[in-house]
Structures are given as structure tokens and as C-alpha cells.
Amino acid sequence: MATLEPPSTSITSTPSSTSPEMSLTPIIIEPRKGWWQFNWRDLWVYRELLFFLVWRDVKVRYKQTLLGASWAIIQPVLQLVVFTIIFGRLAGVNTNGIPYPLFNLAGLLPWQFFANTVGQAANSLVGSANIVRKVYFPRLAIPTASVLAGVVDFGLSFLILLALMVWYQWPPTPAVFLLPIFLALAMITALGVGYWLSAINARYRDVRHATPFLVQLWLFATPVVYPSNLIEGYWQLLYALNPMVGVVEGFRWALIGTQPPSMLLLVSVTTAITIFFTGLLYFQSVERKFADVI
């Protein structure tokens, strides 16, 4: 149909400067089939969002609280004091000559990183319901950001450990350079558990009441307040199924020179990776329903 209108600002196609490659590959929307359809491309496209979510979590946490960043220090210190009194003094846990506070804190740090980030991640999806219902982006970014933001807290509380090591004049072992590997193991475990819990929590809202309980039990299944050599024989194998055992053992060995982790570390690593991938799998299988159920 022709037009009699005066030539107003007609529709001109200005090629957009943002993404020339996009016009070649259309975005396809259709029901997903199969159990493994992971959209890696989107995860890459939205990598900056992940950064901003981490940045928001960190910023808000330290802005909102009265004590600000000191919270990351006070919390482990208080916990350390309690544990030292109860398990170090009253129960008299044998730590092979290592000062109990040092022994405890070396395990407490990675444990707290795990416990805090799992708690944050579990509620992260439900807490972001308003965004999930209104905007598309890879939902995986939400629990992932919760875990990554925990690294900042970890870094801060790590300063206490350094101070304690100076106080006891306890030099780190050469294996201290392996520390990032054990932190990575803790992170993979936290991500895996975080994916599981955040996805379940989005579907079943009562799960959030169970999370703190689960974390509490998990603490006692991890050698944070006691040394792992209390566990003997075949029980060790079962014990090592808990990936945090490998993490805590590794931390102690690398930092204060307890006995090196045995081959059972491989069991921990395997479980961590299994939790991570099954978590990813479960998350993406329910991801498509999030906007409908949240």
C-alpha cells in the first residue's frame, strides 16, 4: 500500500553497533527436550551480570550492616572463642601439640565459607523472585554469585588466621601454595550444594527451614572442632565421602603442617565433582519452570 503522507522520518535501518553477529544466529524459543541442554553461550554473554551480582552482594552486605566489613571478622572470632573453650579446654581435644585456636581456625575458615555461601545460595533464587519473573538471564548466575561473593568474606577472615599465626609464631608449610586448590574444592562443593538447594527451595518452600539444620549436622561430620584421626578403619572411607573433609584436611596441612591428606582425598574430590554436576543438572532441569513457580 502506497502512502500519501508527507515524507516524515521514515523507518531507516540503522545497523545497531552492539552485536552484528546476532542477526546470523537467531534465538530459538521452543520447549526444551532431553536432560542436558546447557546454554553455555548465554552464560558467556552474561558474564558481566555475574560480576555485577557478586559486586551487589558484597556491597550491600557491607553497606547495610552497622558493623560493615568487621562482621566477616567478628563472626569467626566469636565462634573460635566458643569452640576453643568447649573443645580445646573443656573437652580437651588432642591436636598433636598444635595450639587449639590455630588448629580450629584453619578448619573453621573454609567451613564458614562453605556454610555461609550454601545458606546464601539456598535462598538466592527465591530472594531474587522479582527479577526472575521479569527478566531473562541465565538463572545459574544467581546462586553462583552468592558463592563467589563469599570469597570476599573469606579473604577478610583469613586475616585473623594470619594474625594468629604471627602470634603463635607458626610459619606456614611450603604446601601453602596449594591452598587455592583446596579453596576451589570448597567452592565446587558449595556451588553444587547451592545449585541443589536453591532449585529445590524454589519449588518447595519448606526446604529453607531444613537448610540450617543440614548445615549444622554437616559441621559435625567435618573435622572442624576435632582432628580427623579420631575416625578409624573403614569408617574413614565413608567419612571421606564428605568433600568438606578433604577441604579441611587440606587447609590444615597446607597452613599449619598436620599430616598430609591421604588418597582418601580423591574420594572427596569425586564426591565434590559429582555434587557439582548433579546440582547443575537438577538446576537446569527445573530452571525452565522457575518463573512459573516462584
Binding site: 508527507p6 521514515s10 545497531s16 524459543i29 526444551r32 527479577i131 519452570k289
Partner: protein, 422 residues
């Protein structure tokens, strides 16, 4: 021409049972386990609701398409599916280009963060790259008119500032396809206008816009084309004016008549109040579609409660561009300059055929006392009607089928003189 969106047979099913449960509270793991133990694996009488059922359409690059329909027609579901928030149960859509959806402004704003920080956060959530936000930062702040508060946490913003900032971020996205839902229902009139202009710019830059709104005026102003949904299917798809006409004709209640049954709630002051406004076609029937060739009568019923004033009932007609086409005052000689006693009145005016232009017309019904001039009521959009040009050759458009601009469309006598070439 290049496609921006191709949708084929899109369908989305919800379980009504699940929706009910969700509204009552939330599904709990405990319930799920108990149900399973009792062996009720198939949900009790969960009825299926097809929010979308076989929607197909194509949108060309650069088109601005309005999506209209009543509540529950499937508009929001369609936008959610196209913006990948929820997955279709069936069907397929292809989107050529980067998509940004604005289903709500201010998504992801954090009250503790400052305006500056929220621009980056919100921009990232909407899919902008940091580099893009950097480049547009000044323009966003400028557009939102919040420059002096940019480093203040947004929890201290007024709701107007908040919305302005939120829209400003969204307006500076540079997607090839923009999906917008009713965001303009917020903000003051001036800012709304600014937003509409901004969105029109977007359309003119060759970007594609899908726009859902309940405001037919906005739809008609923004969009060349509209798609009407009803119960999850496409009922009409075509030039915005015609589709809006179809929609208004089939709406839940006629917009050609508006009645205020009680004094309370009716527009008015101490001298008079409005009781009803109606649009009637040439046969005297209440109608919201008027043939461009036929006269249309508009009437207002009002009650005078305090006698002794000379009254000026009047109508003002606005077109879809919000242009006042004309104002017409009651010139009935019987009541002109004559103080009116209390009582019920009905004032009518007839607008001749072949005068109004094609499109939607919105009627403001108003009444003022002459001395002192006190407005008793002025009801904007009291009623509305569509003027339809039937293309039968005997209207002002003659044999021309394309679009015609202008706020009136009179049939005027033309004469032509002719001289053959020497």
C-alpha cells in the same frame, strides 16, 4: 524485508490446580511427599488452562507492533514466552537480534545502592554490557533528571524519581528487539510523553518493538500494526486502527455509554452533576462504531441540584493523538442565557457525517456555569467511539486506499478546469 520475530503455533499451558495452590501459599516438600505416599501421584482434578494456544505471527524488522486484548487474553504470557522468562509448552519462535524485555521498570533495583550503582546493576540485569552503560551513563542520568541525587541510595528517592531512573536505564538499551509491557502506566504525564517519544525513536531507528498496553491511545499513536488476542489465540492482526476498532467493538462493556447510577461517585459539584454520556448512531442506537458518512449524536444527562444559573454544557473531542479536534457548546436557543431550574436534563449534539476523520475519538463531557464561571464537571474520556471509513468510494478518500492524515475529513466540492495541450 528481514524478519525480526517469527512465531509459530506458540502455546503455553498452566495447571489451574497448581495456580490455585500457588495463590493459597506455596507448594511444600512435605505436601509433595505426603501426596506421593498416599499414592495420589496424579494431581487431583488439575484442570488445564491454555494461556496461549497456537499463536503465530511474523514481525518485520523495524515494525512497532501493539499487542492488545482483555485481561487474561494471553498478552503477558506471550511477552514472557518471547522474552524467554518462561518456556512454551508447544511451538517455536525465532528472534533475530538481541532482545530486551521491559516487563516492569526498575527490575532488580536495590534500595541500598545509589542511583549510579543501580544504573550499572539494572543495566547488567537487562543485558547491557558495562562498556555500553559507560557510554550511555550521562544520557541516562540526563533523561532521568536525577543528576544531583545520583550518589544517593535510591531508597531516599521519591517514587517519581525512582521510576524515571528505572525507565531511563531501560530506554537506553540498544536491542534490536524491544518488548515492553505497560511500563508507561507510571510517572507523570510529562514524563510519560517523553517515554513515548523515546520509544517512537527506537522504532524509527529500525528496531523492532512489541508493545502491550491497555491504552488504545498509546497503541494507536505508537504502532502501525496491532495484534488482538483473545483466550490465547490471535483474533485480529493488521493495521492498528482496524484492530483497535475490532477490540473496542468486542470489549466487555460498550464504551459508547457511560452511566453514573448514583450521585455519589458521579462527577459534579453543588450546581450540577453528570448522570450519563452516550454515543448514538444515525438510527438512534447506542454504538461505538460510526460510519464516517453518517451523523453521530452525543448526549449528556445531568441533574441540576441548585437552580438559578445559566449553564454551558459542552463536549470536547480528542483524537488518538490527544489533539482536541473541536469543542462544541450547547447553543440550544431555548436554554441559552436562561437560568435553569433544578431538574433532570439531557443535552444532545449531532455531528454531521463526512466531518470527523477515521480513527478513535474520545469525548470529554463538561459543564460550566456562565457567571461566575465554575466548572461543575469535566469528564475526560467519558465515552469513545470509532469512526470507520468503509472504502466504498463515496467518502472523502475517494478511490484512495492508503492512509490519510488530518484531524477532520470533510467531503469538499472540487472543481477542475481543463485545457488540452496546444
Amino acid at each position: 524485508m528481514q524478519y525480526a520475530i517469527r512465531a509459530r503455533d506458540l502455546a503455553k499451558q498452566y495447571q489451574i490446580g497448581a495456580i490455585k495452590q500457588r495463590n493459597a501459599g506455596y507448594v511444600t516438600l512435605r505436601d509433595a511427599i505426603v501426596e506421593r505416599l498416599r499414592g495420589r501421584r496424579d494431581k487431583p482434578a488439575a484442570t488445564e488452562l491454555w494461556a496461549l494456544n497456537g499463536v503465530s505471527f511474523d514481525v518485520q524488522q523495524g515494525e512497532v507492533v501493539g499487542i492488545i486484548g482483555r485481561n487474561g487474553a494471553g498478552k503477558s504470557t506471550l511477552l514472557k514466552v518471547l522474552s524467554r522468562i518462561t518456556e512454551p509448552t508447544r511451538g517455536r519462535a525465532e528472534l533475530y537480534g538481541r532482545v530486551a524485555s521491559l516487563l516492569e521498570v526498575g527490575t532488580g533495583f536495590h534500595p541500598e545502592l545509589t542511583g549510579r550503582e543501580n544504573i550499572y546493576l539494572n543495566g547488567a540485569i537487562l543485558g547491557m554490557r558495562k562498556r555500553e552503560i559507560d557510554r550511555n551513563f550521562d544520557a541516562i542520568v540526563d533523561f532521568a533528571e536525577v543528576a544531583q541525587f545520583i550518589d544517593t541510595p535510591v531508597k531516599f528517592y521519591s517514587s517519581g524519581m525512582y521510576v524515571r531512573l528505572a525507565f531511563a536505564v531501560a530506554a537506553h538499551l540498544e536491542p534490536e528487539i524491544l518488548i515492553v509491557d505497560e511500563v508507561l502506566a507510571v510517572g507523570d504525564a510529562r514524563f510519560q510523553k517523553k517515554c513515548l517519544n523515546k520509544m517512537q525513536d527506537v522504532g524509527q531507528q529500525g528496531r523492532t518493538v512489541l508493545f502491550v498496553s491497555h491504552s488504545m491511545q498509546s497503541i494507536l499513536r505508537m504502532c502501525q500494526r496491532a495484534i488482538l488476542l483473545n483466550q490465547g489465540t490471535v483474533v485480529a492482526d493488521g493495521p492498528a486502527q482496524q484492530v483497535v476498532g475490532v477490540y473496542l467493538g468486542k470489549g466487555a462493556h460498550s464504551i459508547a455509554e457511560r452511566v453514573w447510577p448514583e450521585r455519589a461517585g458521579a462527577p459534579g459539584k453543588e450546581v450540577a452533576y453528570l448522570r450519563a454520556v452516550r454515543v448514538r448512531d444515525a438510527d438512534g442506537d447506542i454504538s461505538d462504531t460510526i460510519d464516517i458518512r453518517s451523523p453521530v449524536t452525543i448526549e449528556m444527562e445531568f441533574t441540576v441540584t441548585l437552580g438559578g444559573y445559566v449553564l454551558l454544557p459542552h463536549f470536547r473531542l480528542y483524537n488518538e493523538d490527544n489533539v482536541a479536534v473541536f469543542t462544541t457548546l450547547d447553543l440550544d436557543p431555548e436554554w441559552r442565557r436562561r437560568p435553569r431550574p433544578p431538574g433532570k436534563y439531557c443535552a444532545r449534539v449531532t455531528i454531521p457525517g463526512n466531518f470527523l476523520a477515521e480513527g478513535s475519538l474520545y469525548v470529554e463531557a463538561a459543564l460550566t456555569t456562565l457567571d461566575p464561571p465554575v466548572k461543575q464537571f469535566a469528564e475526560r474520556d467519558a465515552v469513545a467511539f470509532q469512526v470507520i471509513d468503509s472504502l466504498e468510494g463515496d467518502t472523502a478518500r475517494g478511490d484512495w486506499a492508503g492512509s490519510l492524515s488530518g484531524v477532520v475529513r470533510p467531503v469538499l466540492p472540487w472543481t477542475t478546469t481543463y485545457e488540452p495541450l496546444a
